[in-house]
């Protein structure tokens, strides 16, 4: 069953003013339970606006957002419940930290859900474990942590609400390569254990190619493509027209194919090795 379904969703900023701009235009799609979706699109393509309509931070100008088959705006007063079910991690989430201790900050979301302080702390501890924060961090002030650690605290703060759908807006932006890898594998790990739906917005085609089941491509306010990762990245020329590209390794194999080498497609380094190694072993590579 579809966990999220969008029906002719349109969002216009500043409607009725001379500055109005449609950021999301007539998008219809459905996301199945347990999927890991990558969302790509160049700056200003409407991805951030789209994801903010999913948890009711923005109310669509027209169209509907269905969560488990129910319109989230059916009862506007209960929109907070939707936000607990659809967790949202913004870009640079470390700037939202405010509590005295890491644990208290992570427990802010669960506390708002109406849980008892003990339950909230319990959830916070679990969430901290998911993002690899050890007990030593619990009582530290969030402001004395490093950038990467702060980011993990902020992500834990959303995971702690145990949402059915987790949306991450460029969670790896500004992290060093190792921090990125660690964070991504933590997200994958969390997704596997929890079995919930994850939407990952990213500018890194490599990241998206590595972890997404399906990819949504946004281009000038429209959902330009939505399909399995491999199919999307097979349309390299179209992606490039939209100011995007395919992962570098995919492109390398594609050019090899063009030059007549018998290689298949690959989305990740591991797949590429699998494709290229037999060729090398045959000793067939000589320029």
């Amino acid at each position: 069953m579809a966990v999220i379904e969008l029906k002719n969703l349109t969002y216009t900023y500043g409607e009725g003013t001379p500055f109005c701009r449609t950021a999301v235009d007539n998008v219809s799609l459905s996301i199945e339970k347990g999927e890991l979706i990558g969302v790509i699109g160049h700056t200003g393509s409407g991805k951030s606006t789209l994801i903010q309509t999913l948890n009711g931070l923005l109310r669509p100008t027209s169209g509907q957002v269905l969560l488990n088959g129910k319109d989230i705006w059916a009862e506007p007063k209960k929109i907070r419940q939707v936000r607990f079910q659809v967790g949202m991690v913004f870009q640079y989430p470390e700037y939202q930290l405010f509590e005295e201790t890491v644990l208290k900050d992570i427990a802010f979301g669960p506390g708002n859900m109406g849980l008892t302080p003990e339950e909230a702390i319990e959830r916070a501890k679990k969430a901290a474990a998911f993002v690899g924060l050890s007990e030593d961090f619990y009582e530290k002030s969030p402001f004395e942590l490093s950038g990467g650690e702060k980011r993990r605290v902020a992500i834990a703060g959303v995971i702690a609400m145990d949402p059915d759908v987790l949306i991450l807006d460029e969670p790896t932006a500004g992290l060093d390569p190792r921090g990125r890898d660690v964070l991504l594998s933590q997200i994958i790990g969390y997704h596997k254990v929890r079995g919930n739906t994850v939407l990952l917005v990213s500018h890194s085609m490599e990241d998206v190619a590595r972890i997404a089941d399906r990819i949504l491509v946004m281009n000038s306010s429209h959902a330009a493509m939505f399909g399995p990762t491999r199919e999307i990245f097979a349309r390299g020329a179209e992606l490039e027209q939209m100011g995007l590209r395919v992962p570098q390794i995919t492109k390398i194999l594609a050019s090899l194919r063009e030059r007549g080498w018998p290689v298949g497609t690959a989305l990740t380094m591991e797949e590429a090795v699998r494709e290229l190694l037999p060729l090398l072993e045959k000793g067939g590579v000589r320029a």
């Binding site: 907070r80 936000r83 913004f90 700037y95 939202q96 930290l97 708002n112 859900m113 402001f143 703060g157």
Partner: protein, 271 residues
């Protein structure tokens, strides 16, 4: 959304008043406001009201904007006018219990209302037609004589410029933080006063932290470009007063003289 709040009321345009030297504009509008309070009878008040209307007309800004700025202070105007109704001498017009409304009170009320409204309209003319940067530029120049008393004029102007510059940035930041906390279920719309004040903490603390971070970054960037204060610093846009400004000055002085003359030769309406 918070972004919709109109701040920095400058409305770009190319009217005569837009093109005036901001220093002259400030001085003349100040003079105008002083004479609003010098006027003692209805003839001089009418003269001033007409001049304010003419100024507004020349600013080329639609009446809608002016009405909005008056609307904001409508309550204060009504409150002070009603209060003034009960003061002043003259014949009794109306008696409600122990309170009396006398003819003097009525003219007092009219005067105070007209004065406040004109004052707001005049300052609106200034802020609508002058960009914040040229406003601070002009203030810096006008305050220069205070240097004799060791007032740090340039520094004050610089602080004003920076503060103005960061208003939109901080608004945007507030918006982002609010969204992030709302996504974590922060409830800012319901609850009593104490609860609402508490609900602001998750927004104010990150906002403070990031403001300090921005301040450090800006200080660093300014030092890297060898900023050392106003000593010997030249301006990119040098302010020059021209014929237009001289003409405006003459007009304002004439109106002010008119007010003084009518004050001397006509009986005062205030008591």
């Amino acid at each position: 959304m918070i972004r919709d709040i109109a701040l920095g009321q400058y409305i770009p345009g190319d009217s005569v008043i837009h093109r005036m030297d901001p220093r002259v504009k400030i001085v003349l509008i100040f003079l105008f406001i002083v004479f609003l309070f010098v006027a003692q009878n209805f003839v001089s008040l009418l003269l001033l009201v007409v001049s304010v209307a003419v100024t507004m007309l020349f600013s080329g800004i639609s009446l809608r904007h002016y009405l909005r700025s008056v609307k904001a202070i409508l309550f204060i105007v009504l409150f002070t006018s009603v209060l003034n109704l009960f003061y002043g001498g003259g014949e009794t017009l109306l008696k409600i219990g122990f309170m009396e409304i006398k003819s003097g009170g009525v003219s007092n009320a009219i005067f105070i209302a007209v004065r406040i409204v004109s004052l707001i309209l005049l300052s609106a003319v200034l802020t609508f037609t002058t960009s914040p940067t040229s406003l601070t530029d002009a203030i810096e120049r006008l305050m220069k004589p205070l240097k004799v008393f060791h007032v740090k004029v340039h520094e004050i102007a610089m602080m004003m410029t920076i503060a103005l510059r960061f208003v939109p940035t901080l608004l945007e930041e507030t918006d982002k933080i609010m969204s992030a906390q709302k996504a974590r279920g922060a409830d800012m719309e319901s609850g009593g006063l104490v609860q609402r004040a508490k609900a602001l903490l998750p927004i104010l603390i990150p906002l403070f932290v990031s403001s300090f971070r921005r301040a450090y970054d800006l200080a660093m960037a300014m030092e890297c470009r060898c900023y050392h204060g106003g000593e010997g610093r030249t301006k990119l846009k040098v302010l020059r007063a021209g014929k237009r400004d001289a003409f405006a000055a003459v007009l304002v002085v004439l109106v002010c003289a008119g007010v003084v003359v009518s004050n001397i030769f006509l009986p005062g309406a205030l008591s």
